[in-house]
């Protein structure tokens, strides 16, 4: 899991005085809103690495054409947690990974708390921008409690009944730090 420091982020929003500029110019490392992306998509150069910020109400199937192929048009998708207890983005992430085979970065932003980390990881996020008051150290610890889970997930598509659990139990038995898993 990568922890994003917003001050040193490669990706930049394209905002004017009144919010997002309706028709941004094609430049590298732009993080567009979904509206901006829709506005420029047809003229946007292929091969230009681009990020899009998605509302958590979006049906991610509508992005399918931009995610396919060896070089998808979108390289980073930013999913939002307006409140940390709003779990819609977990389903978006799961579908982007398992159904649309999206291989780029999936980033969680918004009200992102350390105790969400296990869920984020298991549903396919590989980057998070924690809420400002959250501790990276606590977030890393939150990832370390479980050796394995019952149901499959993006990290481990096989449910417990399709795995050899003795190895997981052994790993857990052999001491602290080997609870390599996830969980909340």
């Amino acid at each position: 899991m990568r922890f994003i420091d917003a001050r040193h982020d490669r990706w930049h929003r394209v905002d004017g005085e009144d919010g997002p500029i309706p028709h941004p110019d094609p430049q590298p490392d732009r993080l567009l809103t979904l509206e901006q992306w829709h506005a420029v998509r047809d003229t946007w150069p292929r091969g230009l690495a681009t990020a899009v910020l998605l509302p958590n109400t979006l049906d991610v199937d509508t992005l399918a054409a931009d995610l396919r192929g060896a070089q998808p048009r979108l390289s980073l998708l930013v999913l939002q947690f307006p409140k940390w207890t709003d779990g819609r983005a977990y389903s978006q992430a799961h579908l982007l990974r398992t159904r649309h085979r999206f291989d780029g970065e999936l980033r969680a932003v918004g009200d992102v708390l350390v105790d969400m980390l296990p869920l984020l990881k298991r549903t396919g996020f590989d980057a998070v921008q924690l809420r400002r008051d959250q501790s990276v150290e606590a977030a890393v610890r939150a990832l370390g409690f479980f050796a394995g889970h019952y149901q499959g997930d993006v990290q481990q598509p096989k449910p417990a009944f399709a795995r050899d659990l003795s190895a997981e139990v052994q790993a857990a038995d052999s001491g602290a730090g080997l609870f390599a898993g996830q969980g909340i």
Binding site: R97, Y150, G152, L165, I184
Partner: protein, 570 residues
């Protein structure tokens, strides 16, 4: 009973360790109340009127003697020496200080127990028929499927923060004793003509402010596909369920609003998972896993299925109290020489479903001595011994009587369902326990109770409906009016059992009543039934045949308070 594997044990210990870490951060001030709240809820910790409340998961109601002894110990050492068995087959404590919460979770983990998903907006602990695996009318034993579903839903990463709570109930019997129509998902196991096993799937039932009975979304989903089918339902709900209004957030509202579009969305999602998703088909249940889990649910070692019933008719000089107990508290079993025996937790002086630490120990001892060390928590808030040999009934009766569990009132008026109500619950508008106590006191005569016969009385202290008032033949709902406690009475609701008929919410019997009127109103309703009943009719039959009007007139005749002017809208 399901036997924990090493993996399962590691899992609950890991959960307890994770909770301890969260609790420490909370107590250290790193994790504010509001954020700790959702985390503790998913481990069963509410904060109630007096102290935190802990709801311990009793998966599909199955308990061992060893577990119940541990629950007794926790009651004694951490609570004020009692616990409350709930309609969802769980156990609640009311007085454990939060600072000791992590220690309790460790003690639970020691006996393969936890509080995972007994609360919060997630898939809750799964409930089932208290007679699962022993009922004569059972087509398929639901317990292995309950366990497989329990494991699948436990810490599901995608479905931990749904719009609202999500409850699943399963039955494998002809009679619905699990109220499946009242659940977000209700599952009925069926065996078709070819001998194949599948699920009839209901979706969108629920109580609360808008009572709805679930509708059929799958007539026969093969058992192998059930995890995937439920994943499809819950994903559609997670994506589309309302989050703008707490009272419209349950799946029942989405199902009602979308109708056939909801069904189509689930069908499409189901196909997508199986045809496209990485890992989608991996959740088809293999025969080997069903076999592995089913092995835990074979007959206990001490049970001999070949024993024939020898049931001698009780002699003419059998004490009437014993005969009544045989009639009310003893049920038929799929094995002819065995019986299911209910230990009544409904008696004067204690709230419905409550048990002291000592009573829990006594019940556990009875289970060890008479029932292969196994008990069930029933939907009606009693305990049940599932493996009693008929030759032991008299000895059990004597022992149960001594321990205070032999009240022969199962299915009768005083065997009522009640939530903890305003005495404990921070959500409640009104108290339930004093109402239950007043009714128990008024109807303390057994002859009278027997004359009244089978009846479901359900009491909820607020519209959240933990006391299932909607499904009572008589329902009592606490409502708040200008800071005072009032009670709305409903008639002829049904949980879906054979006695009660197709699941349906009760109809309101006029404006609410004042607290001190309630026992008299109940008596008036009962008297109206006794006047009007035809031969062989039970309360539910008469109330359904006549409708609300005559009962309303009877209830109005004993009104004293000015409920009409206080708020006739109720």
């Amino acid at each position: 009973m399901y036997q924990y594997t090493e993996f399962d044990r590691h899992f609950v210990r890991a959960r307890a360790a994770q909770f301890r870490d969260q609790l420490r951060r909370h107590l250290d001030g790193e994790l504010p109340d509001e954020e700790f709240r959702a985390l503790r809820l998913q481990n069963g910790w509410y904060v109630q009127r007096h102290a935190p409340m802990l709801r311990v998961a009793v998966p599909y109601g199955e308990l061992s003697s060893r577990q119940l002894h541990q629950l007794a110990r926790i009651a004694r050492e951490f609570d004020r020496d009692y616990g409350h068995f709930t309609t969802r087959q769980n156990l609640q404590y009311n007085w454990i200080p939060l600072a000791r919460a992590a220690d309790v979770m460790d003690l639970l983990a020691d006996v393969d127990m936890h509080g995972i998903q007994t609360s919060g907006n997630c898939i809750r602990n799964i409930t089932s028929d208290a007679l699962a695996g022993i009922a004569p009318d059972e087509a398929v034993d639901p317990r292995p499927y309950c366990e497989i579903l329990r494991q699948w839903s436990t810490l599901h990463p995608e479905f931990a923060f749904l719009p609202r709570k999500f409850k699943i109930a399963i039955t494998g019997a002809g009679e619905d004793r699990a109220a499946i129509g009242w659940h977000d998902i209700g599952l009925q196991l069926l065996k078709n003509d070819a001998g194949e096993i599948g699920f009839k799937v209901l979706v969108g039932g629920g109580m609360g402010r808008t009572p709805v009975i679930g509708s059929v979304i799958g007539e026969f989903v093969p058992w192998q596909q059930i995890l995937v089918f439920i994943e499809a339902i819950v994903r559609v709900y997670n994506r589309l369920g309302r989050r703008d209004n707490l009272y419209k957030a349950r799946i029942k509202i989405l199902v009602k609003a979308e109708g056939q579009r909801f069904v189509d969305a689930v069908d499409a999602e189901f196909r997508h998972i199986l045809e496209h998703d990485v890992g989608g088909a991996a959740h088809l249940i293999p025969q080997s896993e069903l076999d592995r889990v089913s092995a835990s649910f074979r007959l206990p070692a001490g049970i001999d299925p070949s024993r024939q019933a020898a049931t001698p008719r009780p002699a003419a000089d059998t004490p009437p109290a014993y005969r009544r107990w045989l009639e009310r508290n003893v049920q038929a079993h799929k094995l002819p020489a065995y019986r299911a025996v209910t230990l009544s937790l409904k008696r004067a002086g204690q709230a419905p479903g409550d048990a002291t630490g000592d009573q829990m120990d006594r019940a556990a001892e009875l289970a060890t001595r008479f029932s292969q060390g196994e008990l069930r928590v029933t939907h009606d808030q009693n305990l049940l011994l599932p493996w009693v040999h008929e030759s032991q009934l008299h000895a059990l009766w004597l022992a149960a009587r001594e321990a205070g569990f032999a009240t022969p009132n199962i299915g009768l008026l005083t065997d009522m369902i009640a939530c903890p109500g305003g005495d404990f619950c921070a959500l409640a508008n009104a108290r339930s326990i004093p109402v239950a106590a007043a009714i128990t006191e008024r109807f303390d005569d057994l002859d009278r109770l027997y004359d009244i016969g089978d009846i479901d009385l359900h009491i909820s202290g607020c519209i959240n409906s933990c006391g299932h008032h909607h499904s009572g033949h008589i329902g009592i709902l606490g409502v708040d009016k200008d800071g005072a406690e009032w009670y709305q009475i409903t008639l002829a609701g049904s949980d879906g059992s054979t006695l009660s008929g197709a699941a349906t919410p009760g109809k309101v019997v006029g404006p609410s009543f004042a607290a001190d009127e309630v026992p008299e109103v109940i008596e008036a309703l009962i008297d109206a039934y006794r006047r009007e009943r035809l031969s062989g009719e039970r309360f539910i039959d008469t109330s359904r045949r006549l409708g609300v009007a005559p009962f309303r007139a009877a209830a109005d005749a004993v009104r004293r308070a000015t409920a009409y002017t206080a708020g006739a809208a109720a």
